[in-house]
Subunit: 295 residues, 2 copies
């Protein structure tokens, strides 16, 4: 079995660039492409190579990693940009961007028809995880394809899971992750807005909830920023407008009613609609305060 050592990496953004650099550091032969020339220069400085197009980057590569913004960009790179046919026969496409499960399935069908293989491998852990090679990677695809790509994933993350045999299942795990995250943020806002109606001290409330069965990762992370008037933006309201949108699309595609996700999405949508789309996502609490007439 040929080793998977030649990597094409398309999408060198805040996540992709450190991921590609970690691959270089671990001894992979990485050729990158991005429209941003600075990112290409940085990769080159780290010991990687630069290409003039995604097609050139993918030329005779073993693995083509896509860390682009969304499914439409992945399709453009693979099918219109010619990267897929440039990839060696039997090569593996690792789709690591966050995409709707149904879009991943559609991409997989076309990749397979072209004689290549797809592993669906979205990540979580943010920029810190990308830099530290501590990403969680939720990969789906036939076991043997996953096994081929695993050394590549291990160079970028320390929690690499094979979540299923069918591409799209990785995207679904990521979708479920975002469902929980989005609802957890909204419900903290709902709870705090109720408490503020009766003048409960929200600092003490947060302290109590953080140590009780009511706790969540999001409560501890976003809770303190909900108590600030104008917190630093770590992740914007509009990200959850998009991500909970993907969640609800997945529910439509699979015919699954998602009443809590749907209600939470409405609250983020309203926040965006009132002009807070670029504010920190903790500020979904403003929707509740406006809704319930607090302050």
């Amino acid at each position: 079995m040929r080793n998977m050592t030649r990597i094409a990496f398309v999408g060198l953004g805040a996540m992709g660039l450190p991921m590609a650099s970690n691959l270089v550091r671990k001894g992979f032969d990485v050729t990158g492409f991005d429209l941003n020339a600075n990112a290409l220069a940085t990769l080159e400085g780290a010991g990687g190579r630069r290409a003039g197009s995604a097609r050139d980057a993918a030329h005779d590569a073993d693995v083509l990693i896509l860390m682009v913004v969304n499914a439409a960009q992945a399709e453009a790179v693979l099918f219109e940009g010619g990267a897929l046919e440039s990839l060696r026969d039997g090569g593996v496409v690792a789709l690591m961007a966050t995409c709707p499960p149904s879009a991943v399935e559609a991409i997989e069908a076309r990749v397979q028809r072209a004689g290549r293989r797809l592993v669906d491998a979205p990540v979580s852990g943010g920029v810190a995880g990308a830099k530290g090679a501590t990403l969680t990677i939720m990969a789906a695809g036939p076991r043997d394809t996953f096994d081929l790509a695993k050394p590549v994933f291990d160079a970028m993350g320390d929690k690499v899971f094979h979540v299923g045999e069918r591409p799209g299942q990785g995207a679904m795990v990521k979708t479920v992750n975002q469902l929980l995250c989005g609802v957890h943020i909204a419900v903290v806002a709902e709870a705090f807005a109720l408490a503020s109606k009766v003048g409960v001290d929200l600092d003490i409330l947060l302290q109590i909830m953080s140590g009780s069965a009511a706790s969540s990762w999001m409560l501890k992370d976003r809770g303190p920023r909900m108590l600030q008037e104008q917190p630093e933006v770590t992740s914007a309201v509009d990200i959850f407008v998009k991500d909970l949108g993907i969640v609800l699309d997945a529910g439509r595609d699979t015919r699954a009613a998602l009443p809590l996700a749907a209600a939470a999405h409405q609250m983020f949508l309203a926040a965006s609609g009132r002009g807070d789309g670029h504010e920190d996502d903790s500020q979904v609490i403003r929707t509740y305060l406006a809704l319930n007439g607090v302050r």
Copy 2:
């Protein structure tokens, strides 16, 4: 200022009995009452005293602790049973049962008219917390009244918070706690039911979510039991039918829309309506599976 050493304790159930026993152990003079003679005998064996009625237990006590089932029982003990007028003038009623905030406010008004004081002090931490004296106690009332009762609370819990000056605010903190807990359980069920639609391995999903930003105390606690067909009942579906009912009543009383809590309540109600009211609350997932036609 007179020390608060003579305690009347009404309601010696699974929580109340170990709480009263801890007071005895810490040197308080405790007289208990419950309709259950076994509980009275156990308290006596631990060094407490038994009374033939709540009124007798409260006779000349400094603090009357109510650890009864609900607000109706608290009212019956205080006003019909005569415990309030039996309590010494200026004595403190510590209402530690879980009650709706509005009911606490109504009780407080009557207690004050009778020349006594109320501290609203619901708990969380369950039977384990009651036995280990590690309860979280969310107390509300005028600061000086709280300060008087604090040594008594410290004998039963290790996280004693003064959450506000007005009785009812403690109940609101507990209500908010239950709002978060109930929604967190339901949203895990919603997420797992979606994932099962596309055949994702739920054990791996649980493992991934437990270590990600999607995590919650309830995900880690109830998640594993959601994957079991017939798990042990640690807390029943009907408890959350009741507790989310209290949450929604609090929302009505204060005029606060609670879209996530309302949707979660519907899912627990449906679970109960299908005959699963006495099952473990993790089995709210059956509502989603039935709803979405899984299995």
